[in-house]
Amino acid sequence: MLEHATGVAATARQDTIMTAASGGIPLSIQQVSKQFTTRAGLLTALESTSIEVAAGEFVCLLGPSGCGKSTLLSIIAGLDQPSGGLVAAAGQPISGPGTDRVLLFQEAALFPWLDVQHNVEFGLRQRGVSRKERAVIAHGLIERVHLQGFERSFVHQLSGGMRQRVAIARALALNPAVLLMDEPFGALDALTRDRLHSELEEIWSATHKTIVFVTHNVREAVALGDRVLVFSPRPGRIIADFRIELPRPRSLDDLALAAQAAQITATLRAAMGDDLNTRR
């Protein structure tokens, strides 16, 4: 009887996590720039950049390494301060990290001293959610990312793809309006990456969260994004804004997708070429 009751509570809770009131919020990035002081002097990582992201939009930031797209993501997450400009989430200027915007990392950044379940519960624990409720939420999310049975596993026992799944569950536990993803699948093999793409697409269509996804993989960007913003090499600035109208769920084998990707690659090449020419 008791078990049954908890089960119902769990399902109800999971429903609220996944659907009701969990939709995304708009992001407004206004003339944000970032300079670093290095031994060589002042280094501009990101030139003044403005982006408007609609609520529930899936935006990919695409560019070569070191173009400042990860820096921009950290700034949106509130983990780094911009040298100039302003970021607003749902109209409110942000001043630091907030659990309405959760950042995911390429290395997954799971805590090795916690098992899978406690990694997923970490954010809830910070929020002061009771142990019992944390467990219920974590179980639902672990199931959602297809890791049931691995609750007690430690990080080193998981493959790269499983680690990213845990990281996604850990972020979703906080039910953030925005997911900020910094090349989360960059270190995975192609097959695992494809699976995680479709799983992420599913989560996104179910929750309508705003997603900003950083990648240097053109096809990944086209497969996932509503929009692909192309960055120039350092100092980074946006050189193109593609709207991807392909129907979902998308497949990497789709010819239209390949054509779209080829077009973006050409833009990127041109920018890289410019860069090489100016350096010479």
Binding site: S74, A77, G78, L79, P97, G98, T99, R101, V102, L103, F105, E107, A109, L110, F111, P112, W113, L114, F122, G123, R125, Q126, R127, F154, V155, H156, Q157, R170, A171, L174
Partner: protein, 250 residues
């Protein structure tokens, strides 16, 4: 079969010892055989003298180590996280770590008199700097990505330390704790040699005073046994746990 080899080795060692002891090369009050030493150990334990002595020493060790642990954790965290403390206090700790803790004993006796507090002071000085340096190293080497992940997941202030920095530093901290314990144990024995109430170190000294090499050796065996036991019962399980979790089992 390594255990068989080990048993054979120790049997041979005891046999050689017994043979040399009986050869009359050295007088028995200088080199008693293992049988006599074990008999002394047994009667000392049975009479309760060795048991009381061991308990007294262990209590001092526990008190001194607990003090070092509290101060060392706090100090290590501060030095590891605050740049100017590292430059100032950190360098002092590094210097003091180079000083064998027995060197504190004369000063401790001057300050506190030859009493319990002097001995515990020396134990603290033995363990404190190793623990501090272990915590500091662990804290400093905490991968920044853990801190970033914790902050984006809503961790703030003290809980970042208790739930991220300290656990992340645990493998390095454990190294410091182990080294600290072994230094504390050594300084305790040194301190007790000079001290008059019943304890392990004092039993060693009284064996010398009585020209009783069997007692000296029996107490040495006891000290070895206690040291190995603490290592096995307290530190080995913790280390195994950490290794399993982190996946460091090689």
């Amino acid at each position: 079969m390594p255990w068989l080899r080990r048993i054979a080795f120790y049997a041979a060692l005891l046999a050689v010892w017994e043979v040399v002891a009986r050869s009359g090369l050295y007088p028995p009050y200088l080199l008693p055989g293992p049988i006599e030493v074990l008999a002394t150990l047994w009667s000392g334990l049975a009479q309760g003298l060795f048991v009381t002595g061991t308990l007294v020493s262990l209590r001092r060790l526990a008190v001194g180590y607990a003090i070092s642990l509290v101060i060392g954790l706090a100090l290590g965290l501060l030095i590891g996280r605050v740049k100017w403390l590292e430059e100032t206090v950190g360098s002092l700790v590094l210097g003091l770590q180079a000083l064998p803790s027995v060197c504190w004993l004369p000063l401790a006796i001057l300050w506190f008199g030859l009493n319990e507090r002097a001995i515990i002071f020396v134990v603290v000085m033995g363990a404190l700097f190793s623990i501090t340096l272990g915590v500091e190293a662990g804290v400093k080497n905490t991968p920044p990505i853990f801190l970033r992940a914790a902050r984006t997941l809503g961790a703030r202030g003290p809980s970042i330390y208790s739930q991220v920095v300290l656990p992340a530093a645990l493998p390095a901290i454990l190294g410091g704790l182990k080294q600290g314990w072994s230094f504390a144990w050594r300084s305790l024995m040194a301190g007790e040699l000079l001290y008059f109430t019943l304890s392990l170190g004092n039993l060693l000294q009284s064996g010398r005073d009585l020209n009783d090499a069997a007692q000296v050796m029996a107490v040495m065996l006891l000290i070895i046994f206690v040291g190995v036991a603490i290592d096995r019962i307290i530190f080995a399980p913790i280390e195994r746990r950490v290794r399993d979790r982190w996946g460091l089992t090689g």
